[in-house]
C-alpha cells in the first residue's frame, strides 16, 4: 500500500504521465479515466515504451519545467516567508506535487493543441479534402464496431486483381491518418477504400465529409467503445452516419449482426455467410487450413478457398465478390484474389511452433461479436486440447458483466479444455459465466498477460491449440 503510494514520487513519474497521455492518444477523458484508476506508478510502461515524438518531447520538457518551478517556489516559501506553519506548508506542497502535475500537464497539451496542432491539422485536412474531391476514384467507406480492417484488406486484395486499388495501411482511420495516406496517392487509382474509426458522435459524419464515399459497408455494431458512447443507441446513430451521408447510394449491411440488421433501411444490401441478394453461397467449410465455399450467381458456380479462418468471414468475402462483380471483375479474378488473402496480423492468425503447438493470435480482436465467432470456430476443432487465453474485453461500459458472463457460457458450451484468465476487473465475470454453465474444463489464472505468455510454452504439447483473445494496453487494469 505504502509502496504503491510512494511510487508517485519516483523520478520516472513525469515520463509515465506523458506515456499515458500518448497511449490514450492524447484524449483527456481517457487519460483521466486511467489516472483516477491507477494506484501503482512503479511499472507503468509494461507493454510499450514512450515513443519519442516532438509532441511527447515537448510535453515531457514542459512537465519537468513545471515540476522544477514548483520545487523552487516551495523552497522559496521555506526560505523567505515567515509563517508559523511554513514547514507544514512546505511538506504539503512537496507531497502534492505528483497530484498537481497529473492535472497541470493538460495546460501544455492545450497550448500545443490550440496554437500549433489545430491550425496545422486544419490546413492538412483542407488539402486532403481538396485532393479527394478532385480524385476520380470510386470511394468505398467501411464503418462498424468491428471487422473494418479485415473487410478493408479483403476488398483491397480482391479488387486489386482487376482494378488499381489503394487503401490506407494499419489503423489509419482518422482524418489525420487518412490525410497521411492521401499524400501517397498517385492519382491514377480507380478505387480507394477507407476505414472509418468512430469514438464519439459525429466522427463518421466528419470522415464522410472528408472522403465523400460512393459505397458504404457497415460491418456490425456492438458494445465496443461503449464506455465512450455511453449508450448503444449513440453508437448505432454514429455508425449509421455513413448511411445518412450516402442516402440512396449502395450500403452493404452485415446481416449476421443483430443491431446492424435491425437498423437497416429497405434500400440497404444485406450480406451474410449465405450470400447477398442473388449471389448465393453454399458448402461453407472452415478449419485450421482455411475456409472454403461455393458462390453461385446467374447459374454459374465458383469454388473459393481462402487462408482466413472462421465462417464469420464468409459474409465479408461475399461482399468483396459482389463489389468486384459489379466492377466487372471475372469469377476467375475473384477466385485468384480470395486465394491470395492470408490471415491478417493478430486477427486469428495461425502460427505453429517447433513442437507442433498451434497458436491462433487473435489479440487485435476485442469485441463481443468477434469473440463469439472465434469461440464458434474453436468449437469446430476436434481431437485437440484448446487453450483460450484472455484478459477480457475493454470499454464495455454498463454491459461489462453481461458480456463477460456470456463469454464464459459460450466457452463452457464449446467445451474448451483450458481457460486461462488474466486477473483484472472483468475476468471474474467470465469465471462466473463458466461456473453458471457448469464448465468442465480447467481455469488457470495469471497475474498479467506477460506471465501467461511466458508460461504457455510450458503448459502445452504438440497438437494443442492456443487462442490468444484480445490484448489490454497499459491504460486498462
Amino acid at each position: 500500500m505504502i509502496k504503491k503510494w510512494l511510487s508517485r514520487y519516483n523520478l520516472h513519474y513525469p515520463r509515465f504521465l506523458v506515456y499515458m497521455l500518448q497511449v490514450s492518444e492524447y484524449n483527456i477523458r481517457d487519460y483521466f479515466n486511467w489516472y483516477h484508476k491507477a494506484k501503482n506508478f512503479s511499472n507503468i510502461e509494461q507493454r510499450k515504451r514512450l515513443v519519442k515524438t516532438p509532441k511527447s518531447f515537448f510535453l515531457l520538457t514542459a512537465t519537468w519545467i513545471i515540476l522544477l518551478f514548483t520545487l523552487v517556489i516551495d523552497f522559496l516559501i521555506l526560505r523567505f516567508i515567515v509563517f508559523p506553519f511554513r514547514y507544514i506548508l512546505f511538506f504539503l506542497i512537496l507531497l502534492s506535487i505528483p497530484y498537481f502535475l497529473a492535472y497541470i500537464i493538460i495546460i501544455p497539451l492545450f497550448i500545443l493543441k490550440i496554437f500549433i496542432q489545430m491550425p496545422i491539422e486544419y490546413l492538412i485536412i483542407k488539402k486532403t479534402r481538396q485532393i479527394l474531391k478532385n480524385h476520380k476514384a470510386i470511394k468505398i467507406a467501411i464503418a462498424g464496431s468491428f471487422g473494418k480492417t479485415t473487410m478493408r484488406e479483403i476488398l483491397k486484395t480482391v479488387l486489386l486483381e482487376g482494378k488499381k486499388t489503394a487503401a490506407p495501411p494499419e489503423n489509419y482511420n482518422t482524418s489525420m491518418g487518412i490525410s497521411k495516406f492521401v499524400k501517397t496517392l498517385k492519382g491514377d487509382e480507380e478505387i480507394l477504400i477507407f476505414e472509418m474509426g468512430e469514438y464519439y458522435s459525429g466522427d463518421i459524419e466528419k470522415l464522410c465529409d472528408l472522403v465523400q464515399p460512393d459505397i458504404g459497408i457497415i460491418t456490425g455494431i456492438n458494445e465496443a467503445h461503449l464506455q465512450k458512447f455511453k449508450k448503444i443507441e449513440r453508437t448505432i446513430k454514429t455508425i449509421y452516419e455513413l448511411s445518412d451521408f450516402l442516402g440512396e447510394k449502395p450500403v452493404y449491411i452485415n446481416g449476421e449482426n443483430e443491431l446492424a440488421r435491425k437498423n437497416a433501411k429497405p434500400n440497404h444490401i444485406i450480406y451474410s455467410r449465405d450470400g447477398i441478394g442473388d449471389l448465393k453461397i453454399k458448402n461453407q467449410k472452415t478449419g485450421l487450413d482455411g475456409t472454403s465455399f461455393i458462390i453461385i450467381k446467374n447459374d454459374k458456380e465458383l469454388e473459393i478457398k481462402s487462408g482466413l479462418l472462421g465462417l464469420h468471414l464468409v459474409g465479408s468475402l461475399a461482399v468483396a465478390a459482389d463489389i468486384a462483380l459489379n466492377f466487372g471483375l471475372t469469377f476467375e479474378q475473384i477466385k485468384n484474389g480470395v486465394s491470395k488473402i492470408e490471415p491478417f496480423d493478430h486477427r486469428l492468425e495461425p502460427k505453429i511452433d517447433n513442437a507442433g503447438v498451434i497458436t491462433l493470435d487473435d489479440s487485435y480482436n476485442g469485441n463481443p461479436d468477434g469473440v463469439k465467432a472465434v469461440i464458434e470456430f474453436l468449437a469446430g476443432l476436434k481431437n485437440c486440447r484448446r487453450f483460450y487465453v484472455t484478459p477480457g474485453l475493454v470499454e464495455m461500459g454498463e454491459q461489462t458483466e453481461k458480456i463477460h458472463k456470456q463469454i464464459g457460457k459460450e466457452l463452457a458450451k464449446a467445451g474448451i479444455e483450458k481457460t486461462i484468465l488474466i486477473k483484472n476487473s472483468v475476468t471474474p465475470y467470465i469465471k462466473q459465466g463458466l461456473k453458471e454453465a457448469e464448465y468442465k474444463g480447467e481455469v488457470i489464472w495469471f497475474d498479467n498477460a506477460l506471465t501467461a505468455f511466458a508460461a504457455l510454452p510450458y503448459l502445452t504439447v504438440g497438437g494443442d491449440i492456443i487462442l490468444l483473445q484480445n490484448d489490454w494496453p497499459d491504460q486498462y487494469q
Binding site: D447, A454, T460
Partner: protein, 395 residues
C-alpha cells in the same frame, strides 16, 4: 503466476551454476524448462539457488529470470548480492544472514547442475545429508553415470554391449606411456579420446592418425585425470532416449541428433541451436522420433530400460546409443543423469508439457524420499559405552 492453487505453495529450490565446465549450460537448464515450468504450474514458490563459478551460493528471486544472467553487469550485481548459508536442521534451510536475517525451509530440491560438483553425485550427497527430497537420480547412479568407464563396466556385466575401450589415469600414462599406447593400438581405428567425467562432449577428440593420439590425450588430461580411448563406430546412427520414472518407467521418443560436424561436440550441442531462444539447450537439430526401423527402435527401448535399471537411475535420465548402420549392432554409449534442459522438447513432442514434466519429477522425488525414509540407517547399540572402558576392564 497461476492462481488456481495459491495456498500452501511448496518451497522448491532449483540449484544451478556451480564449479563446472558446464556452468552456463546449467543456468539454461535451470530456467528452460525447470524454473519457467515451475512458475507456470503455480503450485510452487520457486527459490533459485545459484552457485557461482567460485562456489559461492546465492539466492534471489530476480534470478528466476534468465535475463538476470545475461546482463552485461551481471558480475557487479552478483557481488552486491548477499551470500546465503545452508542449514541441515530437520531438512534443508536456506538463510540470508544479517540484521534482517531470513530463513526458508526448502520442501524439495531440484538439482539443475551439469557436470562436476553437481551431476556427479556431490550435490546429491549433500541433499541426502540434509534429508530433503530431491529430483532426479540419487547419489549412486549419479556417481556411476558421471564416470564413463564405470558405466561401461557395470552395464557390460548386465550383458549390454559397449564399444571396445581402454582406460587409464594420468598417473598410469605418465608412468608407462608405452604400455598404454600398445593397448590403444590394438583397438580398431579411428578412435575417440574422452575425459571420463566430463559431459557436454567437452574435450572429446576423434583420432584418425597415430600422430594425433598424444595431443588428444593431452587435451583430455587437461580436463580430467582419468580418460577413455574407445573405438569409433563408423557408419554411425547416433540416437538418444530420455527416460522418466522410479519403478514404472516412461520413455520419451527416440531422438536422432543431426550432426553438423563429424561428432557431436559442445558447440553442436549448445551453441548451434540458433534462432529459437526459448527452446532450451538442444532443440533444433534433432529428428524426433528417429527414423529407424521398428525392430531397432524396440531394441533401443529395451536396452534403455535395462541400462536405466542397471545403474539404479531414478527420476530422469537420458541414455545415448551408438548404432552401427551396417551391422545394426547397438552399443550403449553413456548415461546422462541430468539431460540438458531435461530434453523437454522431446517430452513435449510426445505429449508431456513442461509443467507436467516438472510436477511428475517432483512427485517421483517425493516417492523416492518416502522409500528412503523407510530404510533404517540408524542402529542403536551400546558399543560407544563399551568402547575403551570395557577393554580396560577385560585387561
Amino acid at each position: 503466476m497461476t492462481g488456481q492453487t495459491n495456498i500452501n505453495k511448496k518451497n522448491i529450490a532449483v540449484i544451478f551454476g556451480g564449479r563446472s565446465a558446464e556452468h552456463d549450460v546449467s543456468i539454461i537448464t535451470a530456467h528452460i524448462p525447470i524454473i519457467q515450468s515451475l512458475l507456470a504450474a503455480g503450485q510452487f514458490d520457486v527459490w533459485p539457488i545459484y552457485i557461482s563459478r567460485e562456489g559461492s551460493w546465492y539466492c534471489n528471486k530476480e534470478m528466476n529470470d534468465l535475463a538476470y544472467f545475461k546482463q552485461d553487469d551481471f558480475k557487479t550485481r552478483l557481488v552486491k548480492q548477499k551470500k546465503i548459508r545452508i542449514l541441515f536442521d530437520n531438512g534443508l534451510k536456506i538463510i540470508w544472514p544479517g540484521i534482517m536475517s531470513k530463513t526458508i525451509q526448502i520442501d524439495i530440491a531440484f538439482p539443475a547442475m551439469h557436470g562436476t560438483f553437481g551431476e556427479d553425485g556431490s550435490l546429491m550427497g549433500l541433499l541426502r545429508m540434509a534429508n530433503v527430497p530431491f529430483v532426479g537420480c540419487d547419489l549412486f547412479a549419479s556417481v556411476i553415470a558421471m564416470d564413463k568407464v564405470l558405466t561401461k563396466q557395470i552395464i557390460s556385466i548386465e550383458g549390454i554391449s559397449v564399444v571396445p575401450y581402454v582406460w587409464f589415469t594420468k598417473n598410469d600414462w605418465e608412468k608407462n606411456k608405452d604400455i598404454w599406447i600398445e593397448k590403444i593400438f590394438k583397438l580398431k581405428w579411428p578412435l575417440f579420446v574422452k575425459p571420463v567425467h566430463l559431459g557436454s562432449s567437452i574435450a572429446i577428440s576423434k583420432v584418425k592418425q597415430k600422430t594425433e593420439l598424444e595431443n588428444a590425450i593431452k587435451v583430455a588430461f587437461h580436463y580430467d585425470d582419468k580418460i577413455l580411448v574407445e573405438e569409433s563406430v563408423e557408419n554411425l546412427i547416433e540416437v538418444t532416449l530420455p527416460i522418466m520414472g522410479n519403478n514404472e518407467l516412461r520413455l520419451a521418443a527416440i531422438e536422432r541428433p543431426l550432426n553438423k560436424t563429424e561428432f557431436f561436440d559442445f558447440s553442436d550441442k549448445y551453441l548451434s541451436a540458433g534462432g529459437k531462444k526459448s527452446g532450451g539447450v538442444n532443440s533444433y537439430y534433432s529428428e524426433i522420433p528417429a527414423d529407424i526401423d521398428k525392430k531397432l527402435a524396440e531394441q533401443v527401448e529395451d536396452l534403455g530400460k535395462r541400462t536405466y535399471r542397471a545403474l539404479g537411475c531414478s527420476g530422469i535420465a537420458r541414455i545415448d546409443f551408438l548404432i552401427d548402420a551396417d551391422t545394426k549392432k547397438i552399443y550403449v554409449n553413456e548415461v546422462n543423469t541430468l539431460p540438458g534442459s531435461l530434453y523437454h522438447h522431446n517430452w513435449k513432442k510426445i505429449g508431456v508439457s513442461g509443467v507436467e514434466l516438472v510436477t511428475k519429477l517432483i512427485s517421483l522425488a517425493e516417492e523416492n524420499f518416502i522409500q528412503r525414509k523407510n530404510i533404517t540407517y540408524a542402529f542403536n547399540s551400546d558399543i560407544l559405552k563399551k568402547a575403551g572402558g570395557q577393554k580396560n576392564q577385560n585387561n
